[in-house]
Amino acid sequence: MREARNNMSKRITFPFAAVVGQEDVKQALLIALTNPKAGGVLVAGEKGTAKSSLVRALTNVLPDQKIIELPLNATEDMVFGNIDLEYALTCGEKVFSPGILARAHGQVLYVDEVNLLRREVLTSLLDTADRGVNIVEREGISHRHESRFTLIGTMNPEEGTLTATVLDRFGMFVAVNRETDPAARTKILRRVLAYEKEPDLFCRQYETATRDLTESLQAARIVLGTIEISVAMMELAAQYCAKAHSAGHRAELFLLEAAKAVAALAGRGYLLPADMERAAYFVLPHRMRQQESPPPAEEQQEESSEDQNDQDNQTEQPNLPPKNAPPPDIQGQDESETEDSEDKNEELPPPQNDTADQERVADIDKNFPNAKLNVSLSQDRQVRQGSGKRSLTRTDLKQGRYVRSCLPNGKLTDLAFDATLRAAAPYQRLRPKGNCCITIKQEDLRQKVREKRIGNTFLFVVDASGSMGARERMRAVKGAIFSMLQDAYQKRDQVGLVAFRRETAEVLLPVTRSVDLAQKCLQQLPTGGKTPLAEGLATAFTVLQSMQKKEKEMQPILVLVTDGRANRSKASGGDPVADAVSMAEKMKLAGFNSVVIDTEMDFIKLGVARTVAQAMGAAYYRLQELSEQKILHIVKNLG
């Protein structure tokens, strides 16, 4: 078969030299290409900022290399290599058929949307980049080959983040920002329009500029070999890294190599401290760790420092890779802590006329610290379905991404044709032939292993009674839920909302993936009236039950937010608290996971919410704690 291997990239692209601005990104890319030892580069930025265009435009700049792309749909065997099917068929021998990593040897490997690449593939890929060797042990093949490449990744942090370990493997990091200068923006518009109208003509205008770039790259590579690193420079590098509190020693090496490339690109055969400073700008930002922060407020510190660098209001995310900050010695201390919303809760205005029946709508306290719902899936071996980002599980429905094959365990349900063929191939010369070219036997059959991310389902049960409306409590509660919703949004969870007040409980929002809607419901949620806690739990119970009926694999989590001042029983004359507790026990019996957030802040605490939590087998948190800890640990008790 004639294979059109990724050489679409030879096609016409928007010229590198014609990209307006983005000097940092351009320089980082050139450093990476000049010196592969600088560890490649990760380009992060919002959508539509020419990230991919810049990388793909390198094709025409590179003198002797190709850009090999690793698409997100790649299966593992294609990345690492597998058995050569045709050879096995004709010669009956197992021979290694190279994958993308083999093709990438000596070239540039480009992963677009690197943060969406599957974790296992990404880890193995980075391992290979680190060692320069690809080791394959799969499908009866044992093989190793050299694989040295310059890794370039692009990502949009809004879509998900990379862990610190993964970030650390990239030598350099550069943030792309949109252009805010009107003149430059107009220039961009003009160029893009001109390119789209007549690409050939446009590219010809930049031919000289592109050739100059290629030549300077070639020249820099020659100069690079002559640059010596003095002990003083090594000390400087170590100082930089120590100031940035970067873990491990990769940083120093990357820093020196990047600095060499900076000097080489400037045509200098020796290093200057300025080169080091420039290199630090790319090598250190994603490795910086805050050290001064006292342990409990760690997260907050990080956030406030992020705000400091946050020049364009980028959506804050917990693990957002840092923007390119000035080198550490220039960076000041975080002087001011962001307002602590806990104080806010404590220093609430004195109770006004606390009329419980009065209806009001509290707004959302958007300064509430990021509360996160942390679900530990201890043993998630159950086969699940669903779509989301929080947990990655194997799925045996014929959905999800085909990642690898395995021997069928029992009945074969999802045949992996390619793997089956490969398994059968080496024996074809020995087997009798029928009408087909290949005879497949039972023992060749392979099953597809598919993976799918599933989100969790959270059902928020919110007390909207008059007592909750007092002292702006609802504002804080809404703030807490809001921050949890934000977390859910990023992880593609499903959410539902049940509120109870006056006589009844109401499903305000059936479980949906639209976190947006949940937020709107929350915004409009009024408070006032009595507290039918048992009623609320009963309604939630019905919702959860019907949900589990519909989708068996779903493990919904109940989040109860209440002050526990239950004062309305199901039957008239009954004990409201006892009702609630018995409902809670029913919940526990049914095996639903739950968490209770107690908002009781009055001087005399009744502690009903805690009792309910105990009866329900729920994790228990006080609202104040929430603003300190920010993470709710819910351990799923899987049956």
Binding site: R11, S52, P71, N73, P182, R185, L421, D516
Partner: protein, 340 residues
Amino acid sequence: MRTGVYPFTAIVGQEDMKLALILNVINPALGGVLIKGEKGTAKSTAVRALADLLPAMEAVKECQFHCDPQDQHHMCEACVEKNKTAALTTQSVKMKVVELPVSATEDRVVGTLDIEHAIKCGEKKFDPGILAQANRNILYVDEINLLDDHVVDVLLDAAAMGVNTVEREGVSYSHPARFVLVGTMNPEEGDIRPQLLDRFGLSITVTGEHQSEQRVEVIKRRLGYEQDSDVFSSAYQQEQAELGKAILQASRLLPQVTIADELLTLVANMSIKLEVDGHRADITVIKTALTLAAFDGRDKVTVEDIKKAVRLALPHRMRRRPFEDGVLNWDVVEAMFQEQ
């Protein structure tokens, strides 16, 4: 194939939706359109009806990807090879609407190993998927917000680059996949990923007609169509033909349409002021304005074109944090037009 398609021109109201779709037919480089609306607002009907209005195009004969014989930059490998040795034989094919069902699996979307060929001949061969069919056509995803995350990923990839790169199940292949992405969604059923949202050139929100006369007209036409679709359709033949002609004329005029520098600056300033993400917004506004001018038979873009284009291209690009409504502040826009 085209039997039972409700005529595009017979759709009552929904002018924005119709305009957005037509603009994309005139200029496939606009980047598609996302149609948001409640159920039963003729979203799908309009997209499917579009098929009838689509122009014919030249394509390489027997090419799986219907490559454009004139466009060497976006040809598949096979056509590039053929083109080297001899002139390509071409045929005229109608542009079509290719549907991507929500339940589609990734392998069917990007293409995969041809099993039959592998078993019969013992050779690997690429079996093209929906993205191959969609090349140079309209790719329609109904309920796009319900699409599986990983299918969205591959869709984004292809939409961005115009190339589908496949590395799976033993096949390594890449082919052109430039399509007009048309999606419909009911926002009540969940949101759409911001990154996918940004890939859509235009976005519009449809609502049901509120005037009772209009509503009656909708019912009348629908009943008329269901009674006898042929008779009904023939009543609109003339209108359909005229619109088809207008589209063709506009696409011929499009390359000649020019835009003044002040207007470029105006759009750039607006994007900065409104803090939209990235640069796709400005580019799309300008392209939309150019297409609007062409559709109107003019070769110069006017302020009115820009205004209309902003309405179509900006609302879904307003910077929004999760949960904050990204609303297009029309006052700001108006004020900027006033200054002009």
